[in-house]
């Protein structure tokens, strides 16, 4: 039993190292510094939670879902972009594909997004840099957004 415990404790320590390594491999090691304070969230006019971009960098995964709560898009376009995108529909948070299948909306309906993939969120960002200005540690969030927008850079994320 002692050996199992030692193994698992060691695994916990290695896990911490693994996260650090992932952030370095993503090319944005500064994402490790993020305070997760969401100061950036309140300032974004289209409701993107820019802390999600930092999370995508730490995980080295552009497909993680982040909050985008004030972006309007036609349901058909949203479905084409990502059928699993979560939208706000009749006070409910639901996948766009499910909302279409249940007949709650049509493909021509303009919907408001709730959560979308980090790489898709980067594409709707208008790069006003408001998030960078309010960040308490002045992280270069736009660098990550530009990396996600650029397909070449995206591969390394």
């Amino acid at each position: 039993m002692k050996k199992i415990n030692i193994f698992l404790f060691t695994a916990i320590v290695f896990y911490l190292g693994f996260i650090g390594a992932r952030a370095f491999f993503s090319g944005y090691p500064f994402s490790l510094i993020c305070y997760n304070c969401k100061s950036c969230d309140s300032i974004c006019v289209i409701g993107i939670d820019p802390q999600g971009f930092m999370a995508a960098s730490v995980a080295d995964d552009p497909d993680i879902y982040i909050y985008v709560t004030n972006y309007r898009i036609y349901a058909g376009e949203a479905e084409k972009l990502d059928p699993d995108m979560i939208i706000q529909c009749n006070d409910k948070k639901i996948k766009v594909s499910a909302a279409l299948n249940e007949g709650l909306i049509s493909r021509d309906t303009e919907i408001i997004t709730y959560k979308m993939k980090a790489k898709d969120a980067a594409k709707v960002c208008i790069e006003c840099a408001a998030c960078e200005r309010v960040c308490p540690v002045k992280l270069p969030i736009l660098d990550v957004i530009k990396g996600l927008k650029n397909p070449g850079r995206e591969k390394s994320l």
Binding site: M1, I4, N5, L8, F9, A11, I12, V13, Y15, L16, I19, R22, L32, I33, C34, Y35, N36, C37, K38, S39, C40, D41, S42, D49, A55, A56, V58, A59, D60, D61, D63, I64, Y67, V134, C135, P136, V137, K138
Partner: protein
């Protein structure tokens, strides 16, 4: 709501409860191991039920900030200890004790330092301040004969530090709520700071009158036999440097991570006091760190399989189909962080704030009182920020329990003090409202009431005299400084 989410939630709650109640032997499976095994079980069952899962969710759910802040705090504490800063602090506090202001002034100021100079993680303060609190409390215990004094003072300090990440303006949890709810930056801070002063006073009362355990005789003997060392130049300098750096950080708010600031301070102390790496290592305690990481992993797995979605769904179901209704469920929702105390309030805050905002908006519309949403979000965040105090999963309370060698958990009475302090914040928001402007008549009145009441409680507990000038002066100084800083 998915089956895997329900299973994940049951396993997660079950593991925490079984570990707390001792049904899972800590000797066989420490909390960290139990949580990892539970996470593995959730993953296996989730995959068996055909769920698709993205492991990145676990990584993104692991917040590095409190982990690195803890490590930086431990390293700095090791340097300060080796340089003799704690001896210098103890000597100053002894001088203060013997002054006109006396013990209550020293106690109330010391315990409220974490909230007064709020850091993004309370662990930054706990490591350096616990040795000072221990020295002060054993001194008072020796003079008054009250053997509970170390538990009383350390508990007050611990819950104050735990909750202090809530009002911190440099990356605290309050900013998450302000960000997600789109409220003015810093508008939650003062409400939470005053409530934390009450929380600290409540923790002192409960540790004195409800908690049965005191520190062991052996520890009393060890602490009493320790020679009173003279203040060294290095110690005094290190202490002054540390306090100056922290105060400057709070006032200037430089765009430098607090961890980097702490490490640079450590390096400077190392050079001045000629310290080696071994001196730094003595401050590091691995248990809370490993517990925190395993807590993050378990919460990440819970999130990956929709456990938190199930929780929100269940709350919605209860509110619509039981006599509790939306109001009753809102109260439960506010207190979920202390019902489910995780190692860092950020986990529950990020997972449930959208749900709290949704509930708040619903009730605000029903009652036609828009301020209800503000009351709910501030109350929830205060409960969330403080929840790392009573958390058995590597919470700040476990650092205090470890330093005092207590066998019985302090979680229950720490939770109770959070439970009672949350309505203080709720009342404050409902009466004054949210504004980033601190110098209003309402806030000044609240500061005076808070300072006087908590000062009187501290005076009574430490000297048996409620109207001690030192306690009331200490309370007032602390609460008025909270408006300024």
């Amino acid at each position: 709501m998915t089956v895997s989410g329900v299973v994940a939630l049951i396993i997660f709650f079950g593991t925490i409860l079984a570990s707390l109640k001792g049904w899972i032997s800590q000797r066989l499976f420490p909390m960290q191991v139990a949580l990892l095994i539970a996470s593995l079980l959730i993953v296996i069952i989730g995959f068996a039920l055909g769920e698709r899962a993205n492991p990145s969710v676990i990584i993104t759910g692991t917040f590095l900030h409190p982990i690195t802040a803890t490590i930086a705090g431990f390293i700095l504490a090791g340097a300060l200890k080796s340089a003799g800063a704690f001896e210098a602090a103890s000597a100053w506090i002894r001088k203060l004790q013997n002054s006109y202001l006396g013990v209550p002034f020293a106690v109330i100021v010391l315990m409220n330092i974490p909230t007064l100079l709020a850091m993004p993680c309370g662990r930054v303060w706990v490591s350096p301040l616990i040795p000072v609190a221990l020295a002060l409390s054993f001194d008072i215990a020796a003079k008054t004969g009250d053997r509970k004094m170390p538990v009383i003072i350390v508990s007050g300090l611990v819950i104050n530090a735990a909750a202090s990440c809530g009002p911190s303006l440099i990356g605290g949890i309050g900013l998450i709520g302000e960000g997600m709810g789109r409220y003015p930056s810093g508008s939650f801070s003062d409400h939470m700071q005053f409530a934390i002063m009450f929380m600290t006073a409540f923790a002192m009362i409960f540790s004195k009158y409800i908690y049965s355990e005191t520190v062991s005789e052996r520890m009393f003997d060890v602490e009493s036999s320790e020679e009173v060392k003279d203040m060294s130049e290095h110690g005094t300098f290190s202490l002054l440097l540390f306090v100056t750096v922290i105060v400057a950080t709070i006032i200037i708010k430089p765009a430098i991570p607090i961890q980097a600031i702490l490490l640079c301070t450590t390096l400077f102390i190392m050079i001045i006091a000629k310290l080696g790496l071994d001196d730094l290592m003595r401050g590091i305690i691995l248990h809370p760190l490993t517990a925190m990481i395993s807590g993050f992993i378990a919460a990440g797995v819970l999130s990956m399989f929709g456990g938190f979605d199930v929780l929100v769904y269940l709350l919605g179901f209860i509110s619509e189909h039981t006599p509790l209704g939306y109001v009753g469920v809102s109260v439960i929702l506010i207190y979920i962080p202390i019902l489910l105390p995780l190692p860092c309030g950020r986990i529950i805050a990020v997972s449930l704030i959208p749900g709290v905002l949704m509930f708040g908006e619903h009730i605000a519309q029903m009652a036609a009182i828009p301020r209800i949403q503000e009351v709910m979000i501030v109350s929830f965040i205060l409960a969330g920020a403080a929840s790392c105090g009573p958390s058995p999963l590597g919470g700040i309370g476990s650092i205090g329990e470890g330093r005092l060698r207590l066998k019985k958990s302090t979680g229950m009475f720490l939770s109770l003090s959070v439970f009672l302090a949350v309505p203080v914040a709720a009342f404050s928001v409902s009466a004054i409202g949210l504004s980033s402007e601190s110098f209003s008549r309402g806030f000044l009145l609240e500061a005076v009431i808070t300072g006087v009441v908590t000062g009187m409680i501290t005076s009574y507990i430490t000297t048996k005299k409620a109207f001690h000038p030192g306690g009331i002066a200490g309370g007032l100084v602390t609460s008025l400084l909270m408006l300024v800083l």
